[in-house]
Symmetry: C2
Subunit: 109 residues, 2 copies
């Protein structure tokens, strides 16, 4: 289980990745975990939130479009993207969105 | 289970709502379903994707900031927001983000 990402004051960028897997998910979770670890080590990575239950939604946050572009072109990530299209994904959609405003609530505050 | 939202060509807006519930979720799902139905009937609503497993991520898509503002101020929605803060939410974060670009993949194409 991920937590709510502790992102900085906007503006920054988000990648909203929504996906549906094929029935055979063998190897998917390990690859997803590896990619998240790798993403965290990239320049400009600000955080990520991920949930899967039927469909999966992963939102990652970045300091700039350039950081997103570099991550998309990362060699290990490129290989994972190809494997994903061949083996695991039935369907996905990626949306690049600029976070302009945010607010939050915490019951303990 | 929701599907991947069939949104139009960007630009449009997204509301990324990430939340963690308190242990007692009584009544939450019914309220969430009611609010989604109501959102779908609002002017400017373009679609939504929602998953909960530990944390919940709901992304709704809108044609403009004005439509998002009107939905936030909808009377039934305001009551639900108050109930949510009192009864159900341990923590949440809302991010308003402008979708600038998207692309998708379908294994059947």
């Amino acid at each position: 289980m991920t937590n709510i990402a502790n992102t900085p004051t906007p503006p920054y960028y988000s990648v909203i990745f929504t996906s549906i897997l094929k029935p055979d998910e063998t190897g998917y979770e390990e690859m997803a975990d590896t990619m998240l670890s790798l993403a965290k080590a990239q320049p400009g990575f600000l955080g990520a939130e991920s949930v899967r239950e039927g469909i999966g939604i992963t939102v990652s946050y970045w300091d700039s479009l350039e950081s997103i572009h570099l991550w998309k072109k990362n060699t290990s990530h490129l290989k994972a993207q190809e494997l994903g299209k061949t083996l695991w994904y039935q369907q996905y959609r990626v949306r690049i969105a600029k976070v302009e405003r945010d607010y939050s609530f915490d019951a303990e505050e």
